[in-house]
Symmetry: C2
DNA sequence: GCAAAAGTGTTGCCGGTACACCCATGC
DNA sequence: GCATGGGTGTACCGGCAACACTTTTGC
């Protein structure tokens, strides 16, 4: 099945890059065309780790190449080492999760056919990338209250409605406005900042930002 | 600093193997002697991943070689890829956590100078192994209530005192007997099994075992 | 009968959830 | 003045922590 020409395993990284566009959770996918194994499929952005870079460096480099962006916050997800996960040979992949704000995602200049795809309607992906995405989603949902993922998904200033919407979209449930606010205020992670945000003919919303390094 | 003869990174695994001996949390360490880099030091058991095995396979194999035991349950911890973590060349390591019962640990036939060392009095270890152990400890403490680690640390039948002792030793705090029992009973993960355990001139203790696959 | 570990319930607090109304703005 | 989203408080429930006495056994 796999070609024996590679004597040792090669190390790569794959990135699950989340953003929220139009209240939908999306990830970045790139075309995969590797005859005779994969025809017109999609997969996660990623690539080999260069000899003089760490896995994190590699992730930053590959994301920059696909989006033109410098991502600020990534988190290691897991390492995938199934023997036949890459039909071309033995490739072990260290998977990472990253998040972008809608603003960053829309201003990024996608290259090589990269596209944002709704996680609710993912196609069958190349390699074991569906498995990686599923694990990334589980991990995101489990840790959303205890990591900086939310901060990466939001602009520097945001309304309470916006931050609540991030939680609701990721967790896939609608939450109560008053309870949500009580909870985040008790966590003491937000500070009110000057200015208000108008959106249509309504009462303007207060703006908030994250207190420096409160959430781990 | 590092030798350039290796053109690509090599993949290895390292294992943090916990057990509890005499109410002390211990890990397995092996001697490391690699002049001119490491003289009479200790480090985690581990080794390269063979081309035809997964990372998990590699962990099982290396543990078997050091202890003569077949470990049942392991869990991936994290992957360490700092460029100079191994002074001999570029080695990326996938770290795993495993746990053994006291019975398994004492009956295991340690080879190559492997020893059990109290985590409270660890020496400076070779490579970045102190960092790996610290992360493994954090992870163990954070997930102790939600993983099979506790099951791996206990024999198949045990008393309530014994399981509480496992939690207390790992978390480093004494807990209330009645509250602890209320909590585990509410979790519905234990079943009473026939027989009692005597230990000195006292009232005998009931024996319990885990219900099949309740804890994830 | 005494030393030593096993076993057993109640109370207060806190975090989570359910739930409804007034406020500020543009038109 | 009305339509639209912004903002606020209370009541119930369940999990968690503090706390002391009786039971069973070997000697």
């Amino acid at each position: 099945m796999r070609k024996p020409e590679l004597k040792f395993a090669i190390i790569a990284t794959d990135s699950v890059i989340f953003t929220i566009l139009n209240e939908k959770l999306k990830i970045l996918l790139v075309p995969v065309n590797i005859p005779p194994y994969f025809h017109d499929m999609q997969g996660l952005p990623g690539g080999l780790i260069a000899p003089d870079e760490t896995a994190e460096d590699s992730v930053f480099r590959h994301i920059r190449n696909k989006t033109g962006l410098d991502i600020g916050y990534i988190e290691q997800l897991s390492t995938f080492s199934a023997i036949n996960r890459d039909p071309r040979g033995r490739v072990v992949s260290v998977a990472y999760t990253a998040c972008l704000s809608e603003e960053q995602a829309t201003k990024s200049i996608l290259k090589d056919g990269a596209v944002w795809v709704d996680v609710r309607s993912l196609p069958k992906l190349a390699y074991d990338h569906n498995e990686i995405v599923n694990k990334a989603l589980e991990n995101l949902r489990a840790k959303i209250w205890h990591t900086k993922f939310v901060q990466s998904l939001l602009p520097s200033k945001f309304t309470l409605h916006e931050i609540q919407s991030v939680f609701d979209v990721i967790l896939g449930v609608g939450s109560d406005k008053r309870n949500f606010r009580t909870k985040v205020f008790n966590l003491d992670i937000l500070k009110k900042v000057p200015g208000k945000k108008m959106k249509g003919a309504h009462r303007p919303a207060e703006l908030y930002s994250f207190k420096a390094s409160k959430v781990l």
